[in-house]
């Protein structure tokens, strides 16, 4: 077990190094950072000097090596646009993104699992069918359109909810939270729903599919034959056995929810890391892009590690296999 974890940590470091390598090889295609850093009157020569000073003329392998060497010392450089340390910027934005992502995931699980179970148990019910259909409408539209429609209805026409931002935040040490104020909670509702909609559909459909499979399995039939109450059969035995793929997907989706909150954050002007990143793409802010991608990679490997460990807990059969390997 310990050697497995150690092995995974080592692999994780390699993953992050690889992410940084790929990141640096693609920055050349995103555009020229100098244009966003100087005004139109700046001469060509001054632009060249700046480029040289930033080391942007070096081969990308050299730039990458420098980034890794600095990052190893906890130094992620200075944002080209904000002219502030990148680590400071990310730390400022992290709470907003994490709060939005976790609330969305909880929302998606809290709605998705019960709906999935319900639609599996009442396969032919009218309500189950309408759940299945309605959830699809939500994922058939681009996120930006859903966001704008929500803003139009609840922000502009009904005026129930704020149309942008995070509301008032409370600082708890370095963590700023919007969960403790009324305006903060109100501002969270629309972005969280927008972000959760897709995940909810995915989880619901996955739970339903797995549940249907498990309900036909022999051991469930045995349970029923033994006369166990159907509530116990459904929830204790059947649901438990559907959880392996659900955990896989949930883990993956939490990572991708964080990574893909980019569009939701930019529609609602949610001041998180996604917004920081999309603006960094716009201005070709290489230090911010590199650090953000590495941070997201770190999230992913951590989540995957936890998911793999959960497999052991949920499905005892896997323990045997690992033991042999």
């Amino acid at each position: 077990m310990i050697s497995f974890v150690l092995q995974r940590v080592l692999q994780s470091v390699l993953v992050i190094l690889a992410v940084a390598l790929i990141a640096f090889s693609l920055f050349r295609y995103v555009g020229d950072p100098i244009n966003a850093m100087v005004g139109q009157d700046t001469t060509l020569q001054q632009r060249e000097e700046l480029k040289e000073r930033l080391g942007l003329n070096d081969p990308f392998v050299v730039q990458y090596g420098r980034f890794v060497a600095n990052a190893a010392q906890g130094e992620f450089g200075i944002s080209y646009r904000h002219r502030r340390p990148v680590s400071e910027l990310l730390a400022e934005r992290l709470p907003a993104t994490l709060e939005l992502s976790i609330v969305s995931m909880v929302l998606a699980l809290a709605l998705g699992i019960p709906m999935g179970v319900y639609t599996a148990l009442r396969r032919d019910g009218a309500l189950a069918k309408s759940f299945m259909t309605m959830s699809l409408v939500g994922v058939s539209l681009p996120t930006f359109l859903i966001g704008i429609l929500l803003i139009l209805v609840f922000g502009v026409i009904l005026r129930w909810l704020p149309t942008f931002g995070r509301g008032e935040v409370v600082d708890l040490g370095w963590w700023s939270t919007g969960l403790l104020t009324r305006s903060g909670l109100a501002a969270l509702i629309m972005p969280a729903i927008t972000l959760a909609l897709f995940q909810m559909t995915l989880i619901m459909r996955l739970v339903r599919a797995e549940m249907l499979e498990v309900l036909r399995a022999d051991f469930i039939k045995f349970c029923r034959a033994r006369g166990l109450p159907s509530r116990l059969v459904n929830f204790r035995h059947a649901l438990r056995n559907t959880l392996v793929p659900v955990i896989t997907i949930t883990g993956l989706q939490l990572g991708s929810i964080i990574a893909f909150s980019i569009i939701t954050e930019s529609v609602f002007q949610w001041p998180g890391m996604g917004l920081l990143f999309i603006q960094a793409i716009g201005t070709v802010d290489i230090p911010v892009m590199a650090a953000y991608l590495c941070l997201i990679a770190l999230f992913f490997v951590l989540i995957n590690l936890i998911v793999d460990l959960l497999y052991f807990a949920v499905d005892p059969r896997l323990r045997v296999r690992r033991g042999r390997a």
Binding site: Q7, Q11, S12, L14, V15, A18, V19, I22, A23, S25, L26, R28, Y29, V30, K129, T133, L136, V137, V139, S140, L141, P142, T143, F144, L145, I148, L149, T201, L202, R205, L206, A209, E210, L212, E213, R216, V244, P245, T248, I249, L252, G255, S256, A259, F260, I262, I263, L293, I296, A297, F300, V301, N304, Y311, D315, R317, L318, V320, R321, A325
Partner: protein, 311 residues
């Protein structure tokens, strides 16, 4: 060789068997979905024949006929049944032509994702060990990049490598490759998890004992049993692929704005939602919803009907 052919023929025959047909006939929702999907696919395929205008022909656009409402609204023009957009494009024709591009990009990239993802997932889950670790770590790397960035990289590299003249004509293929390549991980991870569970089951062990090769076991025994979740993901993935394509064209990577896809039309029309020209985004949006919905409902039905254990 002959054996395989016979086998395939046998399967096809059983597919056409009354079982499947019977379950199809028994479900009105499925019939409706099939009709809608068929209509949309036909409309898209036959766009050059059925569309009243050719929206991709810039020379035929009349900017003075821009922003016309649908024919039943005040100021509508019968020449443009669903109105025109900001460039004077006929919305109906643009939808038909746009659906063509969206369907092509959607289906092709999902197929590519499944091909890569399922094979890697099967191998990873069945073989395990070091190979599994390598594939899964590659998947981690891949997942850490938003699909949009991967596509930017592929597009940028393609632009650097391909001759200039070919950019325009290859834009679509680059797009399919970019979206397809960024979507395989979900399949791989899901299939791997399911394969790990399946390969410990008695029937697989039995097959191993009687000396059936791993390739055959994977193909004949494990693959059919892990396809359930793959179909679930694939149907939803089709929607994502079409929407990703719209987002990409926003970044200037996708199809040129002069030959817009369905997603691109919605993206353009999005800018007119507040100003009252709702038809520019709502009609393509409705078509996209219908398309995705019918594909998904068909997928649901197919999954239930093909899986013998669910009957």
């Amino acid at each position: 060789m002959a054996e395989i052919q016979a086998e395939t023929r046998g399967r096809l025959a059983s597919l056409a068997d009354s079982d499947l047909w019977h379950s199809f006939k028994g479900s009105p929702v499925t019939i409706a979905s099939a009709l809608v999907a068929l209509l949309l696919v036909l409309g898209a395929l036959l766009a050059p024949v059925v569309a009243p205008h050719n929206p991709f022909d810039l020379a035929s656009l009349d900017i003075m006929a821009a922003n016309l409402p649908p024919v039943w609204a005040e100021g509508g023009d019968p020449a443009y049944p669903l109105g025109t957009d900001d460039q004077g494009r006929d919305v109906l024709s643009a939808i038909l032509y746009g659906a063509r591009i969206s369907l092509l990009v959607g289906f092709a990239s999902v197929l590519l994702s499944i091909l890569i993802g399922v094979s890697l997932g099967l191998v990873s889950g069945y073989v395990g060990g070091r190979l599994d670790a390598v594939i899964m770590r590659v998947a981690d790397v891949q997942l850490s990049f938003p699909a949009i960035l991967i596509a930017l990289l592929i597009d940028g590299a393609a632009r650097g490598l391909l001759p200039r003249d070919l950019h325009e004509s290859l834009a679509l293929y680059v797009l399919v490759f970019a979206i397809g390549f960024s979507g395989w991980v979900q399949y791989a991870r899901t299939v791997r998890g399911a394969t790990m569970v399946e390969s410990r089951k008695e029937y697989v062990q039995a097959a191993q004992i009687i000396g059936i090769g791993p390739a055959t076991i994977l193909r004949r025994h494990i693959l059919p049993n892990v396809m359930g979740p793959v179909l679930v993901i694939a149907t939803i993935h089709l929607a994502i692929a079409i929407i990703t394509e719209a987002t990409l064209s926003f970044l200037g990577v996708g199809v040129p704005p002069t030959s817009p896809s369905l997603g691109t039309l919605i993206r353009f029309g999005n800018e007119y939602l507040f100003s009252g020209q709702w038809w520019i985004s709502i009609f393509p949006g409705v078509v996209l919803v219908l398309l995705v919905l019918s594909v998904n409902l068909l997928g649901d039905w197919l999954r239930d009907a093909l899986n013998p254990r669910l009957r």
